[in-house]
């Protein structure tokens, strides 16, 4: 699964640690999601979408990384 998390985070000027705090996960988990090594659960994806004010589909795409 591909995602725009890194790009969206950069737009807000956030570090991985900042986003991790917002999502209540570790910085390592943010890194793994951004690099496509870990796919988040639906609740976590919804939480990320809420934080960025987007829909899940606007952040995550069902494509091979």
């Amino acid at each position: 699964m591909k995602n725009r998390l890194r790009e969206l985070r950069a737009e807000k000027g956030w570090t991985q640690a900042d986003l991790a705090l917002e999502l209540d996960v570790s910085r390592q988990t943010i890194n793994a999601i951004e690099t496509g090594k870990f796919d988040p659960s639906l609740p976590l994806a919804f939480k990320a979408a809420r934080i960025f004010g987007l829909t899940i589909e606007e952040i995550f795409r069902d494509e091979p990384t």
């Binding site: 956030w14 991790a20 705090l21 996960v25």
Partner: protein, 140 residues
Amino acid sequence: MRNSSAEKTPWVRQQLVNRNRLAVWTAAYVLTMALASFGPVFLWDGAVAGSVLAIGLNTCVGAGMIWANIRNLLGLDEMQQRLQLEAMGISLGVGLVAGLSYENLDISNVIVSHAQISWLVMLMGVTYLATTLLRARAYQ
């Protein structure tokens, strides 16, 4: 916007609490294990009552350690939980297969000494540690 360097969220604080609680229970378990193991020789001169009390205490503290471990695992985020699940699965598999092979070596007299459970515990501990480190690296 939160300042990650200065602020700890409730989730982060709870993780620290869970980790510290597990460390305390684990230390208590090791200490009571030492008491149950060495007490009969150095403290109560082989008295059965002393050993029963020490082993009972060790078992109760062990139950507390299991509870603390469950709380710690439930407090992790989803990727950390998956990592722990992978490490536990591999450790269980290695422990089962190696443990039974080790016992068979003993039963069939291929090895001279009797099979000791402590070797199995050490093997599972090392496997868990190595798997956790390797899987954590794979996700980065």
